[in-house]
Symmetry: C2
Subunit: 153 residues, 2 copies
């Protein structure tokens, strides 16, 4: 038998799950209404729009959002149909698919960003002190490193 979660452990774990669901609901409703982008679209367009040449290797895109490759591939197909991204072959590695943001993709995220960033500030960042940010930065980095190690086992 495992050691059960104590009251605080259980409360923190459930709050972690519920907070994500609540944030997602509030942020996605507004983002969709404003720009037609889902949070998933937005999360993928950010690293693409920040890359100097607008191109990111598919595997790096998957890692940046924490998705498995099959989920990324299905989602990219839908974004490609909507004209937000294009797929290319990596010149250095025939097996390495690359993803390029299109001019329409750039327009979409440029239009969506101001309101979405303001929403992220109002619902998340504005409630965190500098000490909270330091704590979360440290905790999230540690948890993600442990998960990455587990996935490689």
């Amino acid at each position: 038998m495992p050691r059960w979660l104590d009251e605080r452990e259980s409360r923190v774990w459930r709050a972690h799950l519920a907070l994500h669901t609540e944030l997602q609901a509030v942020l996605e409703r507004r983002l969709l209404a404003d720009s037609g982008l889902s949070l998933a679209d937005y999360a993928l367009l950010v690293p693409l729009s920040e890359s100097p040449d607008g191109v990111v290797r598919a595997r790096d895109l998957a890692a940046s959002v924490g998705w498995e490759r099959s989920r990324l591939s299905h989602h990219l197909t839908r974004m490609q149909r909507r004209g937000l991204i294009a797929r290319e072959t990596c010149p250095d590695d025939a097996r390495g698919a690359m993803v390029r943001i299109t001019p329409d993709g750039i327009s979409a995220i440029t239009a969506a960003a101001p309101t979405h960033v303001a929403d992220i500030r109002r619902t998340f960042i504005d409630h965190l002190t500098p000490a909270d940010l330091t704590a979360l930065d440290d905790i999230y980095t540690r948890l993600r490193a442990a998960l990455a190690e587990e996935s490689e086992l």
Copy 2:
């Protein structure tokens, strides 16, 4: 124009999103394989199994997982078909739907819990110090209170 996220704010926000996705993938794959329950099924069965008479008001169930009522209702319909829960009318309030866990629902969560709790410990709780738990408890409570206030506006 909003103030853009600085490097640390942006890193924490993206890590928050990615961590949830990564945890969800690892935990749900195992839970489904072991017990046939999704994380959503499990999250709803926990408060039901902990209630003294196995009955919880639908609106309290929705609040405990951070879901909107329509999402809860659709999900409960599927769980009802699988025999995990039953719906009842609240005796005190004709409009207040109640949800009851069935004996099959109790068996399902009882069988799933030991492995799932061990997985939550290994991927999440075991990497947190007591100070981390205190910090997360405080931060998550504050963020959820702010979101609840925003939803009421």
